[in-house]
């Protein structure tokens, strides 16, 4: 029976652009039919719990508190994302946020205010659970103290419908690294699972050398990837680069999500990294959401790109009114 089953197809992750973040649908694609039932039982025996279909959303880089060039919209995209999530026909069971929830502030009081505002906006999301990891703006200057105070632990793991999630912190040591202690924790955490277990790692920075001169890397990312390599169904979701990106290393697939503040250019762009300029006519351009659904028992993927429109800000509200709350603040990341 095992020869007929492609275990790698058991977990399908997909995304489509709704301009607000990333919506992933996790399938047990073979769960339908006699063969699927056998597979489900097998996976349940191996992994403790059979994977079951569910959807979740990834948001990233909300940078609450940032309000200035290149994006004068402040939290508008974040709030738009929350509204869009709440309009979904199926309430997501889980929302993950892959770092830079807040924009760094020189004053601890101001940074605390930004955390409170993040929690206030995120608290309106109609989802059963919200899970977060820190970005360098949240946690790199104080080794994560304020993040712990407002959001909880910097790294952890949990299970959801047969999928094992690992929240990995690659920012709070100041440098782009996970560190030996956390790596040992992750290895011990993984050791409980069979090699077929569906695993989703979510973190802030890319775990591979996407573009080191733009600080798009994790210095000990190779060690993390090597620890994940024996597992057959691993997906890594991350943020930091403020744009979509896909990379495959061995059997592990790594997806970057768009930000909810402003976009960075293609890593193939030569020279220094500069945010893409704000386009008043398309203020949410490049601030995206990926929405992918498996089709025909998960064998195919259907990808939809949906652009967040400006309808809600048209007419009497208008773009100028939308922009008027913006205050000057300088930042590049």
């Amino acid at each position: 029976m095992e020869n007929k089953i492609d275990r790698r197809s058991f977990l399908r992750i997909a995304g489509s652009s709704l301009s607000i973040g990333a919506l992933y649908s996790v399938f047990a694609p073979l769960a339908r039919g006699a063969e699927g039932e056998v597979l489900t039982r097998t996976m349940a025996a191996l992994n403790g719990e059979p994977p079951a279909p569910f959807s979740f959303i990834q948001l990233s880089d909300t940078h609450v508190g940032f309000n200035g060039p290149p994006d004068p919209l402040g939290t508008r995209a974040f709030e738009g994302a929350v509204a869009a999530i709440n309009k979904l026909k199926r309430r997501p069971e889980l929302v993950i946020v892959t770092g830079d929830l807040t924009h760094d502030a020189d004053s601890p009081d101001e940074h605390a205010r930004r955390y409170k505002l993040f929690k206030q906006i995120a608290g309106k999301i109609n989802a059963a659970q919200i899970k977060v990891v820190p970005g360098e703006n949240d946690a790199a200057l104080d080794n994560g103290d304020m993040f712990r105070e407002f959001m909880g632990p910097l790294h952890y793991s949990f299970d959801h419908r047969g999928v094992h999630f690992i929240a990995l912190d690659n920012v709070s040591r100041g440098r782009p690294e996970v560190g030996a202690e956390q790596l040992a924790w992750m290895k011990a955490d993984l050791a409980r699972f069979s090699k077929t277990a569906p695993i989703i790692v979510f973190t802030h920075r890319p775990l591979f050398d996407l573009k080191p001169e733009w600080e798009w890397f994790t210095s000990d990312g190779d060690a993390v990837m090597n620890a994940l390599a024996p597992y057959e169904n691993v997906t890594v979701l991350y943020g930091h680069i403020h744009r979509e990106n896909f990379h495959q290393q061995g059997g592990t697939k790594l997806y970057a999500a768009r930000s909810l503040i402003f976009a960075f250019p293609d890593p193939a762009t030569p020279g220094v990294r500069k945010p893409l300029p704000f386009d008043k006519a398309q203020p949410f351009k490049n601030l995206g959401l990926r929405f992918v659904k498996g089709q025909r028992a998960g064998r195919d993927l259907r990808i939809e790109d949906v652009e967040l429109t400006m309808n809600e800000y048209s007419g009497t509200v208008g773009m100028d009114q939308m922009l008027k709350h913006g205050t000057s603040d300088t930042i590049e990341e």
């Binding site: 760094d104 502030a105 790199a140 440098r175 080191p212 001169e213 990294r273 300088t330 590049e332």
Partner: protein, 134 residues
Amino acid sequence: MKHRKLVVTLLFAASAAIVLASWAQRNGIDTANLMRFATAAEGPRVIEIKAKKFQFTPSEITLKKGEPVILRLTSEDRTHGFLLKPFKIDSDIIPGHATDIAVTPPATGQYIVICDHYCGTGHGNMKMKLTVVE
């Protein structure tokens, strides 16, 4: 009297240099290499680089391919990073003491050094240019 002594000393030094150069030439010794050897005996060139929010000083340095140098890194305020990935250099710069990094540029080209220890809201702009020439 003092002036005469100085002249004699200089004449002696010049004569010794001529004799040494002549001896080196007779024995097939490249005098340019001899000079390089003498310089190397003094140790590699030291280049001081200061880091502070959110800049390196100097912001641009030029090195010669194959020439060993010491990059002496200091910080004027807080911990910064010094990442030059193509040369496998990744170091913290901690305030209060100098961090020496020995480097022999293996190839010509232009490289970007970045601070990879987060240091605040201007951190992403903290970089310097390193040029390696023949």
